[in-house]
């Protein structure tokens, strides 16, 4: 909101300096913790596996931790990809149904889906723990993915409904006239039009599932089936009460890196997803 003092006159620079310092400091506050953790994870530090010189000792500790980092990475990847696939499938079909069809119970179902937002995580996870035990999904990564998908539905179904509604109806009517069934219309004609919405929904589902902590904490007991965030959090308290800060830093890097890369790659979609109106009051 500072008036742009254009030109490179000395006075212009002098006026702008406080602004540069101020905004630069803000950027630094947000970036410093991330940069510091990245650097610290490979720098020498007493009490870690990287005492002398720079290197990847902390990552080696992590690789050998209990079932091995590979196992936890695989668990997390499985849950995340299954959640993304389920969320995309359910919300694509659901969004289509809510945007383009009239059927009895439509408003009730839509409201029920949105109501998921109003219910605390913990309130649902305790009975879900009991229910999943009952149907043989105790201690199962599939169970975690199902639960995570359910928690993603309010946002995803709403987002896809809005995406479909912003596509002109003439498009499907033309396809129908050409003899397409409702499904071919969806697959051939509408899918390309709602792709930005799907990228946003998929990105959010991935980030949520990859980072989720409470659902696996409650639903998984078996230490070889836990996901990465849980493994890294457990890591701290394992070594006879002494916290291995180096390995924790390395763990945070491994957790954060895919998210940050994905975010930077898809930032436009992420922002556009919001701008497209899902959140407009």
């Amino acid at each position: 909101m500072t008036a742009p003092a254009r030109g490179t006159t000395l006075a212009g620079i002098a006026i702008r300096t406080p602004y540069w310092v101020f905004t630069g400091a803000i950027a630094l506050v947000f970036l410093f913790p991330l940069l510091w953790t990245g650097v610290a994870s490979v720098s020498p530090q007493p009490g870690t596996n990287q005492v002398d010189g720079w290197g990847f000792g902390n990552y080696e500790t992590l690789a050998g931790y209990q079932a091995g980092i590979g196992r936890y990475l695989a668990n997390s990847a499985f849950v995340s990809l299954l959640t993304v696939a389920l969320t995309l499938a359910v919300s694509l079909l659901g969004g289509y149904a809510f945007a383009r069809f009239r059927f009895p119970g439509k408003d009730l179902l839509f409201l029920a889906t949105l109501a998921i937002l109003m219910v605390p995580y913990a309130t649902l996870l305790i009975p879900l723990y009991v229910l999943l035990n009952r149907v043989g999904l105790a201690n199962s990564l599939v169970g975690v993915a199902l639960v995570t998908t359910m928690f993603q539905l309010p946002f995803s179904v709403f987002m896809m409904r809005v995406s479909f509604e912003s596509v002109p109806r003439e498009l499907d009517e033309a396809a129908m006239v050409d003899g397409c069934s409702t499904f071919t219309t969806l697959w051939r004609v509408l899918l390309p039009a709602v792709r930005p919405g799907m990228i946003t929904v998929g990105l959010f589902a991935f980030l949520t599932a990859w980072n989720d902590f409470i659902a696996p904490l409650i639903l998984i007991n078996d230490s070889s089936r836990i996901t990465l965030p849980l493994a890294i959090a457990n890591l701290r308290s394992q070594v006879q009460g002494v916290v291995d800060y180096g390995a924790t830093e390395a763990g945070v890097v491994i957790l954060a890196l895919p998210c940050i890369v994905l975010f930077l790659l898809l930032q436009r979609h992420y922002v556009r997803g919001f701008m497209s109106g899902a959140f407009k009051g």
């Binding site: 610290a40 079909l93 659901g94 149904a97 219910v119 539905l153 965030p229 919001f274 009051g281």
Partner: protein, 309 residues
Amino acid sequence: MSLDVPTRPPSTPPAPPAAPRRRGRRALSGWLYATPTAVFVVALFVAPLGLVLVMSAARWPLLSGFRGWNFPDNYAKAVDNRFFLDSVVFTVKYTVLATVLLIGLGLGLALLVQESTRWKGLLRTSILVPSALGLASASLLFYVLYSPLAGPLSPLMAELGATFLGTPNAALWSTLFLIVWRYAGFYMLLMLVGLQGIPVEVYEAARMDGASRWQLFRHVTLPLLRPTLALTTVLCVTGSLLAFEQFYILTKGGPDNSTISVVQLVYSVAFQGQNDLGVAAALSVLVLGALVLVNVLQLRAFRRPEEGT
């Protein structure tokens, strides 16, 4: 993300006039496409919601399941828990502080980076990057950052004799800093969306009338941003009341059990020690009730002035 905020509901365009039979078939396909959603909502949301009510009125140890009705014992035990009152007070205090900070800073940052210049784009990205991290990862990151042994500020801490997590107040503010770091970008983004929705003409008209910058903000931006402010406040209050990871990982409820949030209490009653799912369910139902109440009150508060006009 709550959508009960004063918003125009996504309207269904009127269906083209069609023969009743065709309409019936379309309704059937509609249901078919909605079935996966319905299955998820019923099996994983409505059913557990019913079960939690049942559990809250029954003896239900973690390992053995249903052991007969005992309403209202679980509720009495939940309220009598020695951490109940403290955790409620703490959670409310945390929620108020977090909401004021995040809404204020979110709006401030949005105003700061609103125009699209290259530098502001960069600034926007740096503020947004932490929101890609999970709350658990962010909490672990700050756990190391705040550590008196390994943190970058440890020499300074040693000199001052202060710690980030040593006293109840320090732990609360350190957690708030973590939350602001993680979520400020998200709220900034929501505010930017809201600001974008305000037509430029309104500002121009006000400026023509000689409004100062402060007057513009106070009498144009704020009123027109009301729906966004309502949405963000509801989101932030709901999220903060349900805080868990930041306290479970960063402060572990300490020091001296001063930072136990309500959800953390539910978790510890259910899975750490007492293993009493009945009492945990009763606590969860209380949390749910409180949350619904708080949200209804908030929506009323945000709606009223609009109905007056």
